[in-house]
Each structure stands twice: as structure tokens, then as C-alpha cells.
Symmetry: C2
Subunit: 312 residues, 2 copies
């Protein structure tokens, strides 16, 4: 065995053995440590250049990353990065899981939108009661679906509802071809059959869907949030749901997890799922395919993908 | 007023005033009768050239149509035509509502597919109980979705699931570009994550989904029927649902309506809606836009659209 092949040139940290299995075989000069972020880092963590975090977990203690002198990049498996912005030391790249959850999160958004538009909770209650009672519902044909967030999740929602003859209207942080800017929202909300939230949580978007935003929506509009709970003023939405004026599908809430006894549990006109948009079984294959690509890029000295904050 | 404009050249029968309102203004030489198909036909029915039926109602007594000597065509608002094949006299065109229900029926098929794939009934039970409990579900990315029926409903389902990274496999009565023939089914069912039924009910398709067909499906496969109940052997499906081996979304059943106390009401792994795929509020606008077009075509001596059986 040549000496070169035994020299470790890249050390990475993966959360667990399943991750290592899904990443698959790596070049012999890549060393893999396993650390789930709890307790003390394992021996050799000081050599880690790429730290891959568990999905949607809190960051490890800041000291752990700050005391990894070789750290070049932190790879998250989530699209959202908020709790990590503080935890990742200056000088270290932060990469997210953009593309990993897009299709599954978009699926859940469309599932929630269709559930409400086609009144499936009503028919589920009839099924439980053993009652066959037809009723005409709305459909999406010709309906305007306002999609806030023009990343992969928003684009996928748009493509799916367009198949049904709906008219998706994409809104992003900045205007570009086929995408309106957030600043244009006041002129876009009236007449929308649904508003789908697929935006990152930033200081600009926190609380975007407040009482004033909701008041501008037509009666019966469906609000779908598959992004982050804090995009929405919970109390303002609760008031509209309780009044029967709006309907909502929430996969994320504020607070989250929703504590026992919170009034949202009993709110009418609401379908609630426990933040399961991205955490599908298939996401792990997609996530670790991305991680594998990042490892091989770093090994080859190529730039990483999905960099959301460079080191400086 | 010129005499010509007062001469009726075309008499049509619409089911009710709402239909007349949605059809809108017609040339002055078109006379509109209203008849919902119950009781005796109205005065003047002997002059009716185009009879437009109520949606998904049983045909009127055969005598009523046989005794309309001027009858040229019967226009249905449904995609299915079975009960009418006997009722419409020889020599009269039978036209269906193809295209009117496609998007809304496809919507419901995708809603049902996503509801089961993403396990929404489980999360609905958690919501009723006030419990936040995350769980990873499958998603559609990379999943094969077998779609039986390659008309507008099947094509729309295919386009929607393709947006989520699924692989739609279309199967029609005859093979053509991008569409397998029904005869190829035995080689296609294994490995499918879902089977969506969007086929017309014919002697060839009645009972197609029988015990043998179901046995060939992988464990956990989702069966979606938005077409006609009699495509599926109810007892064979019930056995697979009760065994926990398959899951199903049924918008149509055999028998239909499903009578009180029928075992399907209590079947596990089943989501049931009462044949509401096509009967959305929006369908009427689409339906009477088609009717208007047919009236104007007949008035202008042009061939009708959506002819499913010519007169001879």
C-alpha cells in the first residue's frame, strides 16, 4: 500500500452510521468521524474540515465548532439556517440543504392546499359517520395561487398547481423574470384563492403574515405555511380562523412544537401537521447524495454548493 | 324586426335556469326549453335537436328521447356515458363532458394520493387529540405512479406528480407514444408506489382491478379510484385493506352510493369521498362553456365536439 493512500487529507464529521452508509464509499484518504452533536466531540474533531449536522437539530455548543481549528464548512440538511447563523464561527462556510426537501415540502403544501380546497376534512367526518352525502366544492382551475418564496419549493408548488389549471403567482425577495418582489405584495393579495408560504425566515420576513396582511385576503382564502411558524402572527391567524373568514394548513407553528392546550389545537378551519414537510424517508437519500457531492468537491479542491453564508 | 330573426331554426333543451344563465345569450333564432328529465317533457320537446342532460343523473325514460323526432344529439356533462348508451336512440349522436371534469377529478386523485402517501389521516388524528408527534413519511420523489387511463384526467395526474419528481407511467386502451397498452399491465404493476384509475368503464375494464391484480401490487401500494366503482372488485380490495397490505383512496364505489353499514365504511387504510371528483363549483362554468360551444356549432352547421358514439 503506497504511503500516500494512508495519509488523511480530509476529515469529515457525519451525524451517525446511517449517514455514513448513505454517503457510501469515499476515497481512502478521507477520514470519517461520527458525532451527533450531543456531549463532547469525538477524538480527532480538531482535524474536521467539514461538519455535517443532524437534520433540524439545535446547533452543538458554540465552543465545539469554535474549537475545531481545521473547520472549513458546516453542512446543514435543512433549508432553514436561522439557529446556525450565530453558532458557526466567522471564517467558516455555512451550506444548507436546498433542493433536498424541495419536492417533499412542496408535496405537503399542495396536499394541504387540496385538502382544504376540496374540503376533505368534511368528507372524512362523513366517512367516520358512515354517511354518503355529495357536495360541490371549489377546485383550483383558474384560481390564483400566490406563492411567497420562489426557491425550489415555491417553483415546485407552482408547477404542480399549474397542472390543474391554477395560475401561480410567484413572489420572491427580489423581482426577476416571472417573480414579483415582496414589495409588490399589497397589490397581489386580493383575489388570491390561496397564499402558500415557502420563504426563509429572515428579519425581513418575520411576522410578514400579520393582521393587516390577513385582513387584505378575500373571504375563504387558504393560507398554507410549510416554511417557518414565525412568518405568521399566530394570534392574528387564530382570530381569522375562529371567525370563519380564512382557512389554513400549517405544517409549522409559532410556538413550535405546539404545546398541549394551545388554542390552535382547537381552531376551526385549520389542518395541522407536525412539521413533516421535509422529513420524509426519501429525503435522507437526497440529503446524503448532496453530502457525498460536497465531500468529493472539498476533496478535489472545488467550490462547495449551497453556500448560504461565506466565512467573512 | 326582420321575419327571419323570429324564425326558430334550432331548439335545445337545458336542464334548468342556472344552465341557461351559464350558457349566456344565444342567437335570436335559437329557442331554449328547460327540462330536468323528470316527469313529462315540456311542450315543444318534439322540436328539440340538442338535449343537454343534468349532470350524472339517470337518463330520462327512453320514450322521452325516442319521441323527440328532431333530436340530433344528446350532450352529457359527465365523462362517463354508460347508462346512456341504451337510452339514446339509434341515429342520435351522444356527446360527453370530456375536458370539463379533467382538472378537478385529477386534483382529487392527487389529493387522495398525497393524503395517503404523506399519512395525513394519522396527523389529523393527532390534531384532534392535541398531540405534536413528528414522523417521517414517504414522499413521491422517484416513485413510480401507474396511471390507468391516458385521457385528460390521467395526463393531468401525470403532469402534477412529475412536478414532485415522481415517474408517471400512463396506460391506455391502446399503446401510443408515451402510453402503454392495457395488455402490458402484468409487467408494469410491480414496483409501483401507486395505481391511479382514470379509465372509462367498459366491458374491457369492468372488474379490471380484481384479486389477482391487487395481489401483484407491492405491499403498501396506494390504489386511487376517481373513475367508476365497478373497475374494482370491492370485496377483493376490502380484503387487502383489512389485511393492512394495501391502502386506497376511493371517490367512487361499487355499490354507489355506498349504503349505510357497508363494510367499506369501517375499512382501515381507506380514505373515502362521495364521488366529488368532478362535481366542483367550477365545473359548471366549464360545462356550460362547452354546451354553448356545441349550440353555436350546431347553429352554424359545424360538427360537434366530444362525440363518443355517432348515430349509427
Amino acid at each position: 500500500v503506497p504511503v500516500d493512500s494512508l495519509t488523511v487529507v480530509l476529515t469529515i464529521s457525519l451525524p451517525d452510521q446511517l449517514a455514513a452508509d448513505l454517503v457510501g464509499p469515499l476515497p481512502p484518504d478521507v477520514r470519517v468521524l461520527l458525532w451527533d452533536g450531543d456531549g463532547a466531540p469525538p477524538d480527532g474533531f480538531a482535524e474536521v474540515a467539514l461538519y455535517v449536522a443532524r437534520y433540524t437539530e439545535a446547533p452543538p455548543p458554540r465552543d465545539a465548532l469554535a474549537n475545531a481549528p481545521a473547520l472549513v464548512a458546516v453542512q446543514l440538511l435543512s433549508a432553514g439556517v436561522e439557529p446556525w447563523l450565530e453558532a458557526v464561527p466567522a471564517g467558516v462556510l455555512l451550506c444548507n440543504g436546498r433542493g433536498v426537501h424541495g419536492s417533499s415540502t412542496a408535496e405537503l403544501a399542495v396536499a394541504g392546499l387540496l385538502t382544504l380546497r376540496r374540503e376533505l376534512p368534511r368528507f372524512a367526518a362523513q366517512q367516520r359517520a358512515g354517511v354518503w352525502q355529495r357536495a360541490g366544492t371549489d377546485d383550483l382551475f383558474g384560481a390564483r395561487v400566490l406563492i411567497l418564496g420562489a426557491g425550489d419549493i415555491g417553483a415546485t408548488v407552482g408547477a404542480a398547481v399549474r397542472a390543474f389549471g391554477a395560475v401561480p403567482v410567484l413572489v420572491g425577495r427580489t423581482a426577476r423574470d416571472g417573480v414579483h418582489a415582496l414589495g409588490e405584495l399589497p397589490g397581489l393579495v386580493a383575489g388570491a384563492a390561496a397564499v402558500v408560504l415557502a420563504l426563509p425566515l429572515t428579519e425581513q420576513t418575520r411576522g410578514l403574515v400579520d393582521a393587516q396582511f390577513l385582513a387584505a385576503l378575500d373571504d375563504g382564502t387558504i393560507v398554507v405555511n410549510v416554511a417557518r411558524g414565525a412568518l405568521v402572527h399566530t394570534d392574528a391567524l387564530l382570530a381569522e380562523l375562529s371567525a370563519g373568514r380564512l382557512r389554513a394548513f400549517l405544517d409549522v407553528t409559532d410556538p413550535e412544537p405546539l404545546p398541549p392546550g394551545h388554542p390552535l389545537w382547537q381552531a376551526p378551519n385549520l389542518v395541522l401537521t407536525p412539521h413533516v414537510g421535509g422529513g420524509t424517508r426519501g429525503w435522507q437519500r437526497r440529503a446524503y447524495a448532496l453530502v457525498r457531492e460536497q465531500i468529493l468537491r472539498m476533496h478535489a479542491g472545488q467550490p462547495l454548493r449551497n453556500v448560504v453564508r461565506d466565512g467573512f
